[in-house]
């Protein structure tokens, strides 16, 4: 499709702006003016709307397609949430308002949302308190690791410079630990797909600040030794971080705080149904056990005895301000609506159905595709295209063949410890019929891989573009329309 900059005509505008009702004036002298007007598009409102509507039609999305992208929890995003965030009382609220005198009374609705969401999340995660401020999962990871650092520092335990991270971990874990000032050491997995306990014991030392564990892990498996791992790390003086990217598997069923974790983030845009937005905005609140509460970021929302909510800043041991204000409020608000709709019982049904759906797929595709760790899985199952590779068909080819069959591909090539990984997460909101269509497509592609592998390798054929040249994109970057 033509770029928006190639459409329209000089002098055309879609803007309908208020007319000037004060004298034309400016406090910007010409030496401080830009030498040329910014080259923005010159199109009508209709041209704008048509361009972007047509662009949107080149996307696969949850609203249009089954989207079993592993570890991303592409569940349905309820429509009324979109209505709620657009209510003027929320959308038009300036974040500096509560910092003005009497401002708290002007923002009671918003502060109540923050407070009650925080309380519900703390309960669901099994922690004393939760900060709503992190603006994404990786931002939550960074916050969590900083809290661990603050804890050790407060105890004058300065020797702890190492963060342990399993080899199956998402890349954000080591990256976040590094941004927080730690060096990382890798803990290998055992043949069952669990943390290798013997290796862990060897790695533990007075230099270890903690471990970052994804629970359930990135293989979609629940490590039955998770309690023991926490005890071992605690025994060595370290703390246990739970990466909650896969929390949809256990929400309402198991509280990480009860298992022994000290701190965790949860991806609101995964487990709590807020839209993924084509890659954000998300939200990554961090829950902590009692011993980490003093270090939580400020501001914090408290409820006073008279029932009103207020912002508090006076926490001398706090790590400070990780967000400009109170977190991605619009995202938190959607999660609040979701939690109130589901209630206690609805939450349990989420994890149950997520796990049922994944195991249904796993059982149907076992034997058709290889599965490295053949156990009961949690909310996602990780297959491997090793069998198909004998015919020259890779995970990437299977992904592209799925696109031609109207299905968004699973996550591929992750986790790194599974060769040719196909990580399938159906979520609880998909129906059995939809899963059956997916299973049939996967079987058909497996069959085609044996009989006519070239027909799998030429996919996709139904998309606006065929496979793209990513090598030259990186070698000779064209990142901006000249």
């Amino acid at each position: 499709m033509k770029l928006i900059y190639q459409s329209g005509k000089s002098g055309r505008t879609g803007a309908v702006l208020p007319s000037l009702d004060v004298p034309q004036s400016s406090a910007v002298p010409s030496v401080l003016r830009r030498s040329a007007t910014a080259g923005l598009p010159e199109v009508s409102e209709l041209e704008t709307v048509r361009h972007f509507t047509n662009l949107s039609r080149m996307n696969m999305s949850v609203d249009t397609h089954f989207y079993p992208l592993g570890s991303c929890t592409m569940k349905y995003n309820p429509k009324f949430h979109e209505k709620v965030v657009r209510m003027a009382g929320f959308a038009e609220l300036h974040p500096l308002l509560p910092q003005l005198r009497h401002g708290g009374t002007l923002t009671q609705g918003a502060l109540t949302v923050l407070y009650e969401t925080e309380r519900m999340l703390s309960d669901i995660l099994g922690f004393a308190q939760t900060t709503m401020q992190p603006m994404a999962g990786s931002h939550g990871e960074l916050t969590g690791v900083m809290l661990i650092a603050a804890y050790h520092k407060a105890r004058k335990d300065f020797a702890r410079k190492i963060m342990l991270i399993p080899d199956a971990a998402h890349g954000t874990n080591p990256a976040s630990a590094t941004v927080a000032g730690y060096t990382t050491k890798v803990v290998p997995s055992d043949p069952e797909g669990n943390v290798d306990l013997a290796a862990l014991k060897e790695l533990l030392s007075p230099e270890v600040a903690g471990i970052m564990l994804t629970c359930p892990n990135t293989l979609g498996l629940f490590d039955p030794h998770v309690g023991e791992i926490c005890s071992l790390v605690h025994g060595a003086g370290g703390l246990c971080y739970c990466d909650g990217a896969n929390f949809n598997a256990i929400v309402g069923r198991l509280r990480p705080g009860d298992v022994g974790f000290d701190v965790m983030h949860v991806n609101i845009h995964k487990t709590f149904s807020t839209p993924h937005g084509g890659g954000g905005p998300g939200s990554g609140p961090v829950g902590v056990s009692e011993k980490l509460v003093p270090f939580l970021p400020v501001s914090r929302v408290v409820r006073r005895n008279d029932g009103t909510c207020a912002l508090e800043y006076d926490y001398p041991e706090s790590i400070g301000y990780i967000a400009p204000f109170y977190g991605n409020f619009g995202i938190i608000l959607r999660a609040y609506a979701y939690l109130l709709t589901l209630g206690r019982k609805g939450l349990v049904r989420v994890s149950e159905n997520a796990v049922i759906n994944a195991n249904y797929i796993a059982a149907a595709l076992d034997g058709v595709y290889d599965r490295k760790y053949k156990r009961t899985c949690m909310h996602e199952c990780v297959f491997s295209a090793t069998k198909q590779m004998e015919h020259g068909v890779h995970a990437l080819d299977i992904a592209k063949a799925l696109i031609d069959r109207g299905i968004h591909p699973p996550t591929i090539y992750f986790p790194l410890i599974v060769p040719e990984a196909l990580m399938i997460e159906p979520t609880e909101t998909e129906s059995r019929e939809e899963l059956d269509i997916f299973i049939a497509a996967m079987k058909e592609i497996a069959e085609l891989s044996e009989k006519s592998p070239e027909r799998v390798k030429e996919c996709p054929l139904t998309t606006p573009v065929k496979r793209l040249d990513e090598t030259s994109a990186a070698r000779k970057p064209d990142l901006c329309c000249p």
């Binding site: 900059y5 004298p23 004036s25 990256a175 590094t178 039955p224 839209p275 084509g278 206690r344 796990v355």
Partner: protein
């Protein structure tokens, strides 16, 4: 159950097909052998209608009646309806990061167009696909400078948003990065002379804001050149709507330009989600954090778009990545792009002109009030500072009772400015709004 399609019979049959006698056995075999938690703080579920009513009630407990003159980096601009209409399309907002380019050309092309808009606004060569917000973007720019120069000292102006500076302080707790903060001038300037003196061969970068937190506009060409003369980078955080008319950071030779993009079609929404943007000179593009989209061709030579330069990123480079950022603020970036498209080349200049004219008018009206004085006499875009003959926070409190969010009292962040008020005027404020504020303030003073 809400949003779940499986019926009871589906569940029973699916459990059987997966080899379980029931739910209990499924959890058992998966290794989850803990009792169900009580979840004492979770209420019973409610219908959509009931939840909507409850939220309407909560929304009504937030003030919507105030005439807003509060800015401080977050502005109340007009958002054309087309913006919300486009970002409400499920094909955009229920998709994820475009890992599969053939199935995500809509999002990818939109990001490429967004990157282009950011480059053209800032006068820079390369933009990324967005970051979380203006504060995190500035922190990322600082860390980029530290890595590029191999130096650990950063010079930052006290006229940079105190909100951003506190965030940077927080992120630096465990990092070996020294910040030298150069206090702003007594008016609305950054005190460029002192800023220049703080630079040395130890400096990784100098960080300024444009317009600065007090609304002041300065030509930073000199400080950027001074940074370069010391082998340091020049970093600027800017307000994108002001770039409709202001000399671009690119023209002043900045190396890294960031900013808060909320003012480009994104609602205030009590603090987020917002939009961090970042644009750099092309020589630094491989050091930039975040997603980047590139234009390329497919097997048939047809133009298409992909995520590119991914070897910088955490999913490949892990602990060696340029940053830990994973997702960006894609939908907010789309809002900004649609905003800039529908407002367009001339419309955006008109927005800037409206802001400037109304700000000048408001400042003149307020300065007519007995006891109100100007602070600083330099250039400004749509935000300025006045001095009042009382505690500014107290005055703002009284004006709230009269229906005005009259401005931001600077004493909250600058203890020597307790009698100063930072006032923002956007194209939304009418002559009547401004007159009414002046009258209300005069009546109180």
């Amino acid at each position: 159950m809400p949003y779940i399609a499986n019926t009871d019979s589906d569940r029973a049959e699916m459990l059987r097909a997966a080899g379980f006698s029931g739910i209990g056995e499924m959890w058992e075999k998966a290794g989850v052998k803990f009792p169900y938690p009580a979840l004492a703080e979770m209420p019973e579920g409610r219908s959509e209608y009931e939840v909507l009513k409850h939220l309407e009630h909560l929304a009504s407990r937030n003030a919507t009646h105030l005439v807003n003159f509060v800015g401080g980096g977050y502005y109340d601009h007009i958002i054309p309806s087309a913006v919300d209409s486009i970002i409400s399309r499920g094909e955009f907002y229920t998709a994820y990061t475009p890992y599969q380019p053939e199935a995500s050309q809509g999002t990818l092309q939109a990001i490429y167009e967004y990157q282009t808009a950011i480059c053209r606004l800032t006068g820079m060569e390369v933009s990324n696909a967005s970051l979380y917000d203006g504060g995190t973007a500035l922190f990322e720019a600082m860390m980029m400078s530290v890595k590029i120069t191999g130096r650990r000292q950063v010079v930052i102006s006290g006229a940079v948003s105190p909100i951003f500076r506190r965030m940077i302080d927080c992120y630096c707790i465990n990092l070996d990065v020294e910040r030298i903060e150069v206090p702003a001038g007594s008016g609305t300037d950054s005190n460029l002379e002192n800023l220049g003196k703080a630079l040395s061969d130890k400096t990784a970068c100098v960080i300024v804001q444009y317009p600065n937190f007090f609304g002041g506009i300065e030509d930073y060409s000199g400080i950027a050149a001074a940074a370069h003369a010391n082998g340091a980078l020049a970093v600027c955080s800017c307000y994108p709507v002001a770039l409709s008319v202001l000399k671009t950071p690119g023209e002043m030779d900045f190396d890294i330009v960031t900013g808060e993009g909320q003012s480009l079609g994104i609602p205030l929404s009590f603090g987020g989600p917002y939009l961090g943007f970042m644009a750099v000179k092309s020589k630094y593009m491989r050091k930039m954090p975040g997603r980047i989209v590139g234009r390329t061709v497919d097997l048939d030579g047809k133009e298409g778009f992909v995520l590119t330069l991914q070897t910088r990123e955490q999913h490949i480079r892990r602990e060696h990545a340029t940053s830990n950022i994973c997702s960006n603020e894609s939908l907010c970036a789309l809002s900004a792009l649609v905003y800039l498209t529908v407002v367009g080349k001339q419309g955006f200049v008109n927005v800037g002109d409206l802001c400037m004219s109304k700000a000048v008018f408001a400042r003149n009206e307020l300065l007519k009030i007995k006891g109100v004085e100007a602070v600083g006499n330099g250039a400004f875009f749509n935000e300025f500072v006045i001095k009042v003959p009382c505690d500014a926070a107290e005055l703002v409190g009284k004006l709230i009772d009269k229906g005005f969010a009259a401005g931001f009292p600077l004493g909250r962040y600058y203890s020597d400015r307790r009698d100063q008020l930072l006032i923002a005027v956007t194209e939304k404020r009418s002559r009547e709004d401004i007159k009414a504020l002046a009258n209300a303030m005069e009546a109180l003073l």
